[in-house]
């Protein structure tokens, strides 16, 4: 009996804490498939909330364009982040060069730096580079802001690969670059997978950057699209249909939920990889 309480208590606490979240998700599901709800009680069943999938919503571009933009942004940002993190982290973990310690400190400081203070400066940089209002521009900004984290996480994974393995590769005939590509990268693959999942979800959820730096409707990502629905578009009389918003919200989170379900195993590795100095 005492044992049962001991084992059950953490679950009880967790359940209590997640209840508000669960209720929100429940509302999202119920609301998306009924014309009206009273609290959590639906009033019949309908698919009409989902009509935005086939017909344009007001004068907005199709939601599929926004979905594509979100995918491109999250995917592009993930790829760039992985490329830079895995090379930079290798250098920080394995090469000795002037200013290595300083650079590592800098990475940590930047990781803690509130990036929102950079918004205006970034705007000028994007304008100067003619990347304002482009997907690649926002992807680069997002990469830059998340790089400290990515580098730090990947460095932890590289630190955990024994020197012997890398030395063996060098003696077996690899150049340093070959050793990195053919031996080190495969050995930190769990780290790369974890970072990829983490970054993709982060990119998918990103709202502020695309909202500020990609004002054109053709560049909208899903997050910006949904905001425009709740806030009303230009010249639109605001008539909030919660059913439709729930459906659009569900459309937005569903890929992430599925993604999580299949990749949570990798995500947990971020912590398993360990972060060492």
């Amino acid at each position: 009996m005492g044992n049962w309480i001991k084992k059950g208590t953490p679950y009880l606490i967790l359940a209590a804490l997640s209840l508000p979240l669960l209720l929100l998700y429940a509302w999202l599901f119920i609301g998306a498939f009924s014309p009206r709800t009273h609290g959590l009680i639906p009033e019949g069943f309908t698919l009409s909330n989902w009509s935005f999938l086939f017909t344009p919503w007001g004068n907005r571009p199709s939601i599929w364009v926004a979905a594509l933009n979100s995918t491109l942004l999250a995917g592009g940002y993930t790829v760039i982040l992985l490329l830079i993190s895995s090379t930079a982290a290798y250098a920080l973990s394995r090469l000795s060069f002037r200013g290595r310690r300083f650079f590592m400190m800098l990475v940590l400081v930047l990781h803690a730096f509130p990036s929102i203070t950079l918004l205006i400066a970034i705007f000028y940089v994007l304008r100067a580079l003619r990347l304002y209002d482009t997907l690649i521009g926002v992807a680069l900004v997002k990469t830059a802001l998340e790089l400290p984290l990515g580098v730090w996480v990947m460095k932890g994974f590289f630190d955990n690969v024994s020197w012997d393995i890398e030395m063996a590769a060098l003696i077996d005939g690899c150049s340093r670059l070959q050793a990195w590509r053919r031996v080190m990268i495969p050995m930190v693959r769990p780290g790369i997978a974890a970072l990829a999942v983490f970054a993709f979800v982060l990119g998918w959820n990103e709202f502020l950057l695309p909202y500020i730096y990609m004002p054109s409707a053709r560049n909208w990502t899903l997050s910006v699209f949904i905001r425009s629905v709740t806030a009303g578009g230009a010249g639109e009389i605001l008539f909030v249909n919660y059913g439709v918003i729930a459906a659009a919200g569900l459309f937005y989170v569903l890929p992430v939920l599925l993604f999580f379900l299949f990749t949570q195993r990798y995500l947990l590795q971020i912590y398993a990889g360990g972060v060492k100095g």
């Binding site: 012997d164 030395m167 003696i171 077996d172 150049s175 050995m187």
Partner: protein, 363 residues
């Protein structure tokens, strides 16, 4: 391939890992680097392999300085203490990896991998991954990977230290046989003097990065250059008795607090030459200590611990604060607490200088 290490010094910041080491290793020779953990053995290997650059000194292969040659151009096979197998590759891919990097034709790679696998009897493991292998199997795969390259030089860093005692014995004989069969110049690192003694043609004994002696196993045993080698080589280690030299008529005696030993003829002349030293250390191996009834011996000691080893009995004795070990044939007629007499075999005694540790002479 002939390997020369000339006046090699390697520092890591302030730590001097290897100091002024010179070794000349002949073509086809099996040399062991022997020393306690942390004495710089691995550093020497990795410097020879080209992973570390010497701080001072030169490495030569067949007379040519290779200090600037990257590891991949040295054609070296190396087995690490951790084996360092690539976990994401199968055993076959592990062995083939060095060959693929050389852009060898596929058929030739296959031929070599299979031949090497046969040599080490691991053909049935080729499809497995390193994670699915036992320690002994991993060790064989690592050795196989090193040999399949047909290297000019084989470097082995404590390859047996992660095996259990029985496997270690087997692997010891196996590596020795392979080395002789293939005739590859080999440097073998170990902290286990039995391994070094049984396997190597010559042994370089290192202590704190400094070479103590480089000689055949027999010479290390019979003519240790100093106290460190004398203590490190031979198991159980040599007994040391520190005392001062006193003259009794025509005899010379080494006198300690509760004992004295008359030096045999063979040691006398050596002792004469260093009469000005206030103190000397007498060395005698446990196998050269004889036990006798208490009234017969030159020294009298108390039996302290008795350790039967099967073929011999290892007896721990004490004379006051002095501890001695004797290795005697069974049966052992005394029991703990008994007083026994001791003789030292006069043909196998050593004299050392206690300040420098250097061997002064032996009988």
């Amino acid at each position: 391939m002939r390997v020369s290490i000339e006046r090699l010094t390697k520092r890591f910041g302030k730590v001097v890992a290897v100091q002024d080491l010179s070794l000349e290793i002949m073509d086809g020779e099996f040399v062991a680097l022997l020393g306690p953990s942390g004495c710089g053995k691995t550093t020497v290997l990795l410097t020879v392999a080209g992973i570390y650059r010497p701080t001072h000194g030169w490495i030569r292969f067949d007379g040519k300085v290779v200090n600037d040659l990257p590891p991949r151009e040295r054609n070296i096979g190396m087995v690490f203490q951790s084996y360092a197998l690539y976990p994401h590759m199968t055993v076959y891919e592990n062995i083939a990896f060095p060959l693929t990097l050389r852009r060898m034709p596929r058929a030739e790679i296959h031929r070599r991998v299979v031949a090497a696998a046969q040599l080490l009897q691991i053909e049935e493991l080729l499809d497995r991954r390193p994670g699915q292998l036992s320690g002994g199997q991993q060790q064989r795969v690592a050795l196989c990977r090193a040999l399949a390259k047909e290297p000019d030089l084989l470097l082995l860093d404590e390859p047996l230290s992660n095996l259990d005692a029985r496997l270690r014995l087997l692997a010891r004989a196996e590596i020795k046989r392979l080395q002789k069969e293939l005739g590859i110049t080999t440097i073998f690192v170990t902290h286990d003097q039995v391994e070094a003694m049984t396997m190597a043609d010559r042994i370089a004994v290192l202590n704190q990065g400094v070479l103590q002696q480089f000689d055949t196993p027999e010479a290390l045993y019979t003519r240790p250059a100093n106290l460190f080698v004398a203590e490190f080589i031979g198991s159980p280690p040599m007994n040391f008795l520190e005392g001062s030299l006193t003259v009794h008529g025509s005899a010379l005696r080494l006198t300690g607090p509760e004992w004295h030993v008359t030096l045999p003829e063979g040691l006398k002349s050596w002792a004469e030459a260093v009469r000005d030293r206030d103190r000397l250390i007498l060395g005698v191996r446990p196998e050269h200590v004889r036990l006798a009834p208490s009234e017969e011996g030159e020294l009298r000691a108390e039996v302290y611990v008795i350790e039967p080893l099967g073929r011999d009995v290892l007896v721990n004795l004490r004379i006051g604060s002095l501890r001695l070990r004797a290795l005697v044939p069974p049966p052992f007629p005394w029991k703990v607490g008994d007083i026994v007499g001791l003789h030292f075999d006069p043909a196998h005694l050593y004299l050392f200088d206690p300040h420098t540790g250097v061997l002064i002479g032996r009988s």
